[in-house]
């Protein structure tokens, strides 16, 4: 496994697991319209994962390796995309599951998709800013 991916993915996986652990259970168990609020926390979790990952990142060290800047950026963006895709899949699956009891509606799917797309954009811009 690519060492950059291995090192950074630890933080993204941790963020994803804590997000699904803390937030996912509300989407699964609460009767109030949990889907209106909880997806909004996704960008917060994503940024916190990115912050943790970038905190001790050593781009100057990576530049001494036979790697192009483009390859490093591609790896970082792949992580952000994976995180958001996994969250989108999870929330969509839960929304579909909760449609039966009226907590989620078809418009919820659009809402979740828009939030995830926004998170992706925010994450990408943040990464570019760090870079």
């Amino acid at each position: 496994m690519d060492p950059i991916l291995r090192r950074s993915s630890f933080f993204y996986v941790t963020a994803f697991v804590t997000y699904t652990g803390l937030m996912g259970r509300f989407m699964l168990t609460r009767d109030w319209p949990a889907f209106e609020v909880i997806p909004l926390f996704l960008p917060v979790w994503l940024i916190s994962g990115m912050l943790a990952s970038e905190h001790d990142e050593r781009y100057a060290f990576l530049r001494t390796l036979p790697l192009t800047d483009r390859a490093v950026v591609r790896t970082k963006f792949a992580l952000i995309l994976s995180f958001v895709s996994a969250a989108w899949l999870l929330m969509t699956a839960v929304a579909l599951f909760r449609m039966g009891d009226g907590v989620a509606t078809p418009s919820t799917l659009v809402y979740v998709t828009l939030v995830c797309a926004s998170a992706l954009l925010v994450g990408a811009l943040y990464q570019i800013g760090i870079w």
């Binding site: 690519d2 100057a60 060290f61 001494t64 790697l67």
Partner: protein
Amino acid sequence: METVLEATDLTKDYEDFSLRGVSLTVRSGSISGVFGPNAAGKTTLLKVLAAQAPMQSGAVRVLGQIYETSEGDLKNRVGYVPQEPTFYPDKTATWHARFAAHYFARWDGAGFFSLLETFRVNPLKKVKHLSGGQKKLLSLATALSHGAELLILDEPTAGLDVVHRRSLLDRLRAITADGSRTVLVASHITDGLDEIAEDVTFLHDGRVVLHAAADDLMTRWKWVHYKDGSLDRAIEGRFATLRRQPFGNRGLTDDLPALREAVAPALASGDARIDHASLEDILLSFVKGA
């Protein structure tokens, strides 16, 4: 002799500093030194030459290739030691070796750990717990362990004790002995490095003020110690540096062969003598005269 590095008219601008029109060539199998005072632009130049920072204009050709099209391949063939080591502070040397091994095509793990043993750097200690000198040695061990044909070293002896400094200089001499490897080293101090550098470049205020073979410099640049009044004013005016002292004056000439005839009478009468000049003397002459 083949040229392994050729930089032409490099320009790099910062808010308060500019590298201006720097050109440089490094011969295969040589040890070349870039010397200059603090803030002369040495680190900036080396960063550009090692593709660690972009340049504004100019061209860099390394080992017959350019970074724009062959960055990955060139970084396999070029070892770079930055002025400040850039390792992950919470990780060990062993972790970094595993990390680097994944990317370098010719990574020599056994050689890396052997170097750490020689340098007395504990491979299991976190980088943040290593001393400044040990971090530098770790950086050197990394650069020396992937079969680099060109080593670009920024202040490699800074922070090293006398034993490790001597050991490093010997190693640099040894790795260039068969002509297969080339070393480009930058420093603001010339301690020891002047002994091994075959080509010398002086950088001052972002410009190259001198680029010459060290032997040629040592032959041409000499101190002339003389008694007051034994040389006339016209000769004194030809010195690059002139120091008047209570017990005799001394002048630094940048062309002894041309001056020798003029000082011959004073030499013959014992009123003058010639002494060698160090790189530091020559560098100071440029910095003060600039």
